[in-house]
Every structure is written in structure tokens, then in C-alpha cells.
């Protein structure tokens, strides 16, 4: 029975269009194997046209055809063609530069109040830790996570503390391994958790940030009690400006997520979360970037630069750099 005589409408429909589908399948397979770039101009144009034709065929076939083989094939073909046609087109470099110029600074400006709240929680924690230490120095052991081989502790002498600050006695293997140690350090984990836990209605984020502030407050108070306030400030500032800011920013991002759960407004909570995640994630990326920068500063800068004014200058100028980037960059319309 030839096609023209076939009485079944859906069989004629299929026979008329099958060569086009086959060609589309061939182009899609080529795209999947070797990428859109490997297509010639003809093939690229054919891909767009044939894809739309196949979608139209699918729409019609669902209405008129009961041919299971045809329906399954068209569904699969259209799905794969869709994925080939709507593949991400942007280059990685373009993505990164857009993120650095527009994405991150814009998000930081929009969420500035929340970042401020993050700083506030951190500062409050610091003050609380400081006051607790003044009240009873044994709080230090509770608040500051210590390892057994850490020379710093309640019983350390001023000379021991000083040696950590200036000779790097806490890192035996020199700059690079200090950098490595940092990546696994306490603060990186804190920043990550602070961000992710924001989704649980802000509470764990705020608590962790507060606790981290307390540890720093007690740490500073310990050094102050040994008369090393200026030294420890300079020591902390060289990377701490960046590192603590990263925690405050991660906290701001976490709070933004928590906000969506607490105050979804007109939206469903999941939709509110999706909306807020756009900016919150950029803050998380910013925090990650700053933590890597802090690791570099800690690994190299802190060992190479030994006097107080230079340490303070570096710390503050790095801070000024972050502020300048986040406030000034990408103010225009994003392309």
C-alpha cells in the first residue's frame, strides 16, 4: 500500500514529514557530539527551522495520531532538539566578567542593609566576647576553638603570644602551608554554614556569626590583657578586614534567604526563595572570593610584613579596595 493511497491520515502525516525529522535528528546528534560550533551555516539554519517544524508536528501528532512509535519518537526528538537549540550560548569569560563588573557589586549594593546587619551581629558578638573575657578570663577556653599544639592560650606569656604574631610560630611549614591550612580553617567553614543555614529562618546564621564575633572578642581581650592590643590589631587587620567582612557578607546573604522564608509576601515560599537566591548567591560568591584573597594575604602578607604601621596600612587599603569595587563598579546599565 503506497503512502498516497493510505487512508489513515496520521500515516500520511508521518510519511510526509519523516525525512525532515531524520535530518533534524542527524543535526542534533552532530551538535551533541561536537557542539554548535561544528555546524555549517546551512545546518545551523536548518536546525532552527526543522526544530520549529518538529515542535509543530509534535503538537499536531498529539491531537490526530494514535501511533505510539511516532509519538514516542517525536517527544524524544523534540526534547533533544530543544536542548540543542536552547543550550547556553555565553562564553565562560563573558560570564565571569559580567559577574565581576555587574553581578556582584550590584547585589552587594542592593543588599547593603543586610550586610550591615551582618557586621552589626559580628561586632555585637565581639563586644560580648570581650566583656565576658574581662569578667572571667576562663571564658576564653569556651569561646575560642583551640587545638592542643596551639601556643596561644590563657597560660601563654606575652612573649609567646608575641612570637606567634611576629614569627608565625603557629605555622611551622612557612607561607604556603599556612595558606593551605587556612583553606580548611575554621572561618571558611563558618562562612559556608552561615550562608547555607540562612534558609532556616535566619536564626542559625545569626547565632553562628555572633559566636564567631565572640571568639574574636575573647581573642583580642586575651592579647590586650598581656599589653599587645596594637600588635594584635595590626596582625588581625592584614587579613582580618577581608576575612571578617567575608563572614559578615555571607551572613547578609544567609539573612536574605531567611527573609524569603520569613516574609514571602504575595509569593509562595519557594518562589520567594528563588527570587531572593538571585542576589544571595552573588553574595556567597563574593564571600568565597574574599576568603581566597584573605588566605593569600594571610599566607604571604602576614609573614613578609612585620611592622605594625605597614600591616595596618595593608589591611585598611585592602578594605578600601573592596569598598571601592563594590560601590563604584558597574553602576551603569548592564548590557
Amino acid at each position: 500500500m503506497s503512502v498516497a493511497q493510505s487512508l489513515i491520515r496520521s500515516a500520511r502525516f508521518r510519511a510526509e514529514r519523516e525525512p525532515d525529522w531524520r535530518r533534524l535528528e542527524q543535526i542534533v546528534t552532530k551538535t551533541e557530539r561536537r557542539g554548535l560550533r561544528s555546524l555549517s551555516l546551512d545546518e545551523a539554519q536548518a536546525l532552527a527551522t526543522l526544530y520549529r517544524q518538529a515542535m509543530a508536528s509534535l503538537s499536531v501528532a498529539r491531537e490526530i495520531s494514535l501511533d505510539r512509535a511516532l509519538l514516542a519518537y517525536l517527544e524524544a526528538l523534540c526534547a533533544r532538539a530543544y536542548l540543542a537549540v536552547y543550550a547556553p550560548q555565553r562564553r565562560l569569560r563573558g560570564l565571569f566578567s559580567h559577574l565581576l563588573v555587574y553581578g556582584i557589586p550590584g547585589a552587594a549594593r542592593r543588599l547593603f542593609p543586610l550586610i550591615l546587619v551582618g557586621y552589626l551581629i559580628l561586632t555585637l558578638g565581639g563586644v560580648a566576647g570581650y566583656l565576658l573575657f574581662q569578667d572571667d578570663p576562663t571564658w576564653y577556653n569556651t569561646l575560642v576553638p583551640t587545638s592542643p599544639d596551639d601556643p596561644r592560650g590563657l597560660n601563654s606569656s606575652a612573649a609567646e603570644l608575641r612570637s606567634v604574631i611576629y614569627d608565625g610560630a603557629d605555622s611551622e611549614g612557612g607561607e604556603l602551608s599556612a595558606f593551605a591550612a587556612f583553606l580548611f580553617s575554621h572561618n571558611t567553614r563558618i562562612a559556608l554554614l552561615v550562608f547555607c543555614l540562612g534558609i532556616a529562618v535566619c536564626v542559625p546564621s545569626s547565632l553562628l556569626t555572633f559566636y564567631n564575633g565572640m571568639a574574636i572578642g575573647a581573642f583580642v581581650a586575651l592579647h590586650e590583657s598581656k599589653g599587645l592590643l596594637l600588635d594584635i590589631t595590626a596582625w588581625l587587620s592584614i587579613h582580618g578586614v577581608t576575612e571578617l567582612s567575608a563572614i559578615a557578607i555571607a551572613c547578609g546573604g544567609g539573612l536574605h534567604l531567611g527573609q524569603a522564608v520569613l516574609f514571602p509576601g504575595e509569593l509562595r515560599r519557594r518562589d520567594a526563595l528563588r527570587r531572593n537566591a538571585r542576589d544571595a548567591v552573588k553574595l556567597a560568591l563574593l564571600a568565597a572570593l574574599m576568603l581566597i584573597a584573605a588566605a593569600l594575604l594571610e599566607g604571604f602578607g602576614r609573614q613578609l610584613v612585620q611592622d605594625i604601621p605597614a600591616r595596618l596600612t595593608i589591611g585598611l587599603s585592602v578594605g578600601a579596595f573592596w569598598i571601592a569595587w563594590l560601590t563604584l563598579c558597574g553602576r551603569g546599565e548592564a548590557p
Binding site: 500515516a11 509534535l58 501511533d67 515560599r269 560568591l285
Partner: protein
């Protein structure tokens, strides 16, 4: 739960061609024709995840061994590179590979999965980053804590179990099996379908004999039975071994008998003509049902006449 439902989620729809599969029903590309992807099973996703972990860790170890033996770098530098790579095989690996490979990591490619954007548009770098950042919370942090679980005290262990349970339950609470990261990013994980076009039975030559059917004999069945019959007839007899071929032929005969009984076909169909009978019945029935459908009378299955009353027992 913190999720308040303002609108009810659509009931999980089953694939009409294969009722064991779940379908994504609300996925509409810009062309406006919904594409029904199969929801990826959680087992396949777990396997893809494990494969990814194996691949990345193996890659990391291979690079480290190569560095150690090449003697190009001092020991401390190797430690630094190792620690950087250790972070790179987590969120950055998953995000970058899903951006570069259009929604697939190596593990997903192996198990034929794909991430798509729920709104029908191009999968954005933002969505990929979000779903993989949340993976840190869902997989890596609990995973590493689980590995170190011998050092946990009672309270932390209970908290860890609760954490894993809550995040593990989320995919079961929604029809499209989205984990928390998928919900936040607005993505689905789907099976990558394979386009295989089987021949059109309406055009296959009928070998011998001619059977004809009257309209009232075609009123008994609907789409479901027709397509089940098609699946039976699409079996490629040439690829079967002897035992399977015999079984296939006896199946054809049984089906042919059932159909003749049900529709009241006047003559008995001899066993060697069962295939030809079924093929010509399939054609006539399909032409009939398709024309009924064009007139607005779409028949889903053999209960089409008694939709309002309880479906009665099998024929």
C-alpha cells in the same frame, strides 16, 4: 514544614506510553508546545552523584601522584595545590561542568541525566550555581560529617541524622523529585530521551489473507488497548531466539482469540494467521479511533462507554 501550599501541585502524571515513569507536565519551551520529559529517578541521580565523586576524587589523586613523582614543585606547593583542588572538585567542578556541558556533569552523562531550567528557557549560570551551592549543604557537609561520625557526641549525631532526614525527604514531597537546590534554582533533573523511530505499522505490508471489520466491532477498544497491541506487534520477530519466537507467536494467537471473542468476529482465526489478523485489526481500529478523535470523541480505553459508572471487570 515551612512550605505552605497556596496552590496545589499538579498530580504526578504518568507517561501514557509507559506508566512506570513520571512526567514533567509544566515544562513549556518558548515555542509553546509542552515537552514531557521523564523525571529522573532518585536511584539514577544517586548513581550519577557517586560516579561524580569517584571521578573527581580519582582525578585529584591522579594529579597529586603525578605532581609528587614529577618532582617539579616543592612539597609545600604540592600541599597548596592539593588543598585548592580539594575545593575545586566540589562546587566549582559541578557548576562549571554543568555550564560547559549544557546541564550535565560527567556522572550525569554516564547515567543519561540532564539538568533543565523549569521555566523552559536556557539553563542559566545562576541556576547552576545555586543548585550546586546547595549541594554543599545537602551532600558534602553531611557526608564529611558522616565520615567523621565516630568523633561526634550524642547531640551532634542526632542533629546530623535529622539534617540528613529532612533534606532527604524533600525530593519525595514534590512530584518532580526536586531537591532543595533544584527548588531554589528552578531546575529539574530529567532523563535524556533517545529518539528511536519504529516503523509505521499502518504501512507495513499485510502478508496474506484479508480481514474486514464492521463499525460496531470497532467500538470496544480505546487508545490504551490500541497502543498495547502496537507494542506487541512492534516486536522484531527476526531478533528473537526459537523459544522466545514460539512464545511470541502463542501470545499473538491468544490476543487474537481474545479480540475475536470480545468484538464478536464471526470466524475463527487460524494460528498461523494471527499476526496478519492483528495487523489488519490494528489498522482498521486505529483509523476508526483517529477519526472518532477528530470528531471530538477521544476514547482513552475500553471503559470509554461507562466512564460515569464504575469500570467493570476485565473483558
Amino acid at each position: 514544614m515551612i512550605w505552605r501550599r497556596k496552590t496545589k501541585d499538579a498530580k504526578p502524571q504518568r507517561n501514557p506510553l509507559d506508566p512506570d515513569r513520571r512526567l514533567i507536565t509544566d515544562f513549556v519551551p518558548p515555542e509553546g508546545v509542552p515537552i514531557r520529559f521523564d523525571v529522573a529517578g532518585l536511584g539514577a541521580r544517586l548513581i550519577a552523584q557517586l560516579a561524580d565523586i569517584l571521578i573527581t576524587v580519582a582525578g585529584l589523586i591522579a594529579i597529586m601522584i603525578a605532581l609528587v613523582f614529577s618532582d617539579l614543585l616543592p612539597g609545600t606547593a604540592i600541599i597548596v595545590i592539593g588543598s585548592l583542588l580539594f575545593f575545586a572538585i566540589r562546587v566549582p567542578y559541578y557548576s562549571l561542568s554543568e555550564i560547559l556541558m549544557n546541564g550535565q556533569t560527567l556522572g550525569k552523562r554516564l547515567s543519561g541525566l540532564r539538568v533543565i531550567s523549569a521555566d523552559g528557557r536556557t539553563l542559566s549560570a545562576h541556576a547552576v550555581t545555586v543548585r550546586n551551592l546547595m549541594k554543599e549543604l545537602e551532600v558534602f557537609v553531611p557526608g564529611t560529617m558522616l565520615l567523621a561520625s565516630s568523633q561526634l557526641d550524642g547531640v551532634s549525631a542526632v542533629l546530623l541524622v535529622i539534617w540528613i532526614l529532612i533534606l532527604g525527604i524533600i525530593p519525595f514531597t514534590n512530584a518532580n523529585r526536586q531537591r532543595l537546590g533544584d527548588i531554589l534554582a528552578g531546575t529539574y533533573v530529567v532523563m535524556l530521551p533517545k529518539p528511536v523511530l519504529l516503523p509505521d505499522l499502518a504501512e507495513a505490508p499485510v502478508s496474506e489473507g484479508s480481514f474486514s471489520f464492521l463499525p460496531h466491532q470497532l467500538d470496544h477498544y480505546g487508545r490504551y488497548e490500541l497502543q498495547t497491541l502496537e507494542a506487541l506487534l512492534q516486536v522484531n520477530a527476526a531478533s528473537l531466539n526459537r523459544a522466545a519466537l514460539l512464545r511470541h507467536q502463542s501470545n499473538l494467537h491468544k490476543v487474537a482469540q481474545t479480540i475475536t471473542n470480545r468484538i464478536g468476529y464471526p470466524t475463527r482465526v487460524p494460528e498461523d494467521q494471527a499476526g496478519a489478523f492483528l495487523l489488519s485489526f490494528y489498522r482498521t481500529q486505529r483509523a476508526y479511533l483517529e477519526s472518532r478523535k477528530l470528531f471530538g470523541d477521544a476514547r482513552e480505553d475500553k471503559f470509554h462507554g461507562s466512564r460515569d459508572s464504575q469500570p467493570s471487570g476485565p473483558s
